[in-house]
């Protein structure tokens, strides 16, 4: 009896439904943030050494970039289907995908940042007696920070969008609600979760921009 009517007059936001389902959105948002944070931190932990290696040893460069590029082209559905026999429907499966997808941006920015360090600064550091590791940690990486943070910003915003694909394996954060709204042709979860996801991306990007101002005050113009 009510069927077609509900489809036709489904409002963009059904406030009554929304008010009784707030915890659903809180949990989804929390999961979304957690999945994104692990992906970016894990991506950084991997891409810092990879980017440094690619910068220092030319032979590493093409393979490192090629692997991160090829990984980016693997469809998430195929990747998850391949991983499930080993890692199941877990955060690990999701993060292998998300961290892998973040590498393309992060590794490249670490490398570009290191390459932009002026040669005379390196000469000066050498002249002051810095050994390679100390020079990397105290001179090169701090100078590469603007580029690295710019990479983190891009990677964070794309990952916030990408997290939704992990709904395929029962995670997905806000993606779970977007999927539910889509398959039920129900606007409220679809619209609210999409708006939350966009808001999250904006807040994350602005916070990272703020962090950049604090950490690298000399690079105000980026």
């Amino acid at each position: 009896m009510p069927t077609g009517i509900f489809l036709t007059f489904d409002p963009w936001i059904n406030w009554g439904w929304l008010s009784s389902h707030v915890p659903l959105f809180e949990d989804a948002l929390q999961q979304h943030i957690t999945l994104t944070a692990i992906a970016i931190l894990g991506g950084l932990v991997l891409s810092l050494p990879l980017g440094v290696a690619a910068h220092r040893w030319r032979a590493f460069r093409s393979p490192v970039l090629a692997v991160s590029e090829i990984f980016y082209t693997i469809p998430s559905l195929a990747l998850f289907a391949l991983l499930i026999p080993y890692t199941g429907l877990t955060v690990v499966t999701a993060e292998i995908g998300l961290i892998g997808y973040s590498l393309l941006i992060l590794v490249r920015n670490v490398m570009v940042g290191l390459e932009a360090v002026p040669p005379d600064v390196i000469d000066a550091a050498n002249g002051m007696g810095y050994r390679p590791l100390a020079r990397l940690l105290r001179i090169e990486l701090p100078l590469a920070l603007p580029a690295i943070i710019a990479g983190i910003r891009i990677a964070t915003v794309t990952t916030i969008g990408l997290v939704t694909v992990t709904a395929l394996i029962g995670l997905g954060g806000l993606g779970q609600l977007i999927l539910e709204g889509f398959i039920e042709n129900f606007h409220t979860p679809l619209v609210v979760a999409t708006v939350l996801s966009i808001a999250l991306a904006l807040v994350a990007d602005l916070s990272l921009a703020g962090l950049q101002r604090v950490v690298v005050p000399w690079a105000r113009n980026t």
Binding site: W17, L77, L89, I169, L179
Partner: protein
């Protein structure tokens, strides 16, 4: 100065990492539970309802239940149960059989025989299909009311080859190779359509294609309560090509104890197609929660979970 700021920044990142890592830690609470079972479900409302019915009945019986719902297409759910990430999921006898036998075309319109054949394929995988319910979510083929009127169609055999050559057909990506979809329409009814569009299996893409007129015939589920509301007419399968897609729980053998089997079989003994239609309507169209709809059904059938 720079060193100070950098190290402070690193400490902040490490701290954030630790917080996140602890937040992700396990939170299992062992109690007087008979054991923990994870119930999976497909990414359509009916599957969430069925998963909740099975899960809540088992919870009522003393098991601790985790849910993994809205999982991607069948390859994901099959990989998940093989890997032990889920212990069971609500399957459909013929569709499961044709998935696990790689579309060998062994399914028939007999649910018991189809389930028995399914079990010969599940056995080596450490899985088992229990007793199928009377409830069927069969694939059916629908046309818009206007098309039905134009060609006076009420059953599939009303479509002559000449009519078929004017209709665009839409269904999910598996349809062209699935015995009970396009190959069946060709071999049983002799139908070859003007074009075939790859959409989804009775999902939003198919609905949209019907609405904007880009398809004139498409695959739908018999348990959809909103077909009439959408102005779609299901054509009767008068030559009985449709396979027995009765609801059947697929369970890991390790989880299929006598007690679990008894609970699930008693559910399947009571579940009817009419129940499915009404529950799917409540979730998909009236936007009630699948868990609440499942609870109501269980209460009506003497499980007060």
């Amino acid at each position: 100065m720079i060193r100070n700021i950098t190290s402070r920044w690193l400490v902040a990142i490490l701290a954030a990492f630790l917080v996140v890592a602890t937040a992700c830690g396990g939170s299992t609470t062992p109690g007087t539970s008979k054991g923990t079972l994870t119930v999976g479900g497909f990414n359509f409302p009916e599957s969430s309802i069925l998963a909740n019915i099975y899960g809540q009945a088992l919870a009522h019986d003393g098991y601790t239940i985790n849910y993994k719902l809205l999982l991607g297409p069948r390859p994901i759910i099959a990989a998940a149960i093989k890997a032990g990430s889920i212990d069971m999921y609500p399957g459909y006898a013929a569709s499961e059989l044709e998935y696990y036998n790689n579309s060998a075309g062994e399914a028939t319109s007999d649910p018991a025989a189809t389930t028995a054949t399914l079990n010969t394929h599940l056995q080596p995988l450490g899985l088992v299909a229990l007793t199928p319910a009377a409830a069927v979510d069969a694939n059916a083929f629908a046309v818009p009311q206007a098309t039905a009127t134009e060609y006076s169609l009420t059953k599939l055999s009303d479509i002559t080859p000449a009519i078929a050559s004017q209709l665009v057909f839409g269904a999910g990506p598996e349809c062209p190779t699935y015995k009970f979809c396009l190959p069946g329409l060709a071999s049983v009814y002799g139908l070859h359509f003007k074009a075939v569009k790859t959409l989804d299996t009775d999902g939003p893409l198919t609905r949209a294609a019907f609405k904007n007129g880009s398809i004139q015939i498409g695959l739908v589920f018999t348990t959809d309560a909103d077909l009439k509301g959408l102005g779609l007419v299901v054509l009767q399968d008068d030559k009985h090509m449709t396979a027995a897609d009765n609801v059947v729980p697929v369970v890991r053998q390790a989880a299929a104890s006598t007690e679990v089997t008894t609970v699930l079989n008693s559910i399947d003994g009571k579940l009817t197609t009419a129940d499915l239609i009404s529950m799917v309507d409540q979730v998909a169209n009236q936007h009630l929660d699948a868990a609440a709809v499942a609870t109501t059904w269980l209460q009506q059938h003497n499980y007060s979970s």
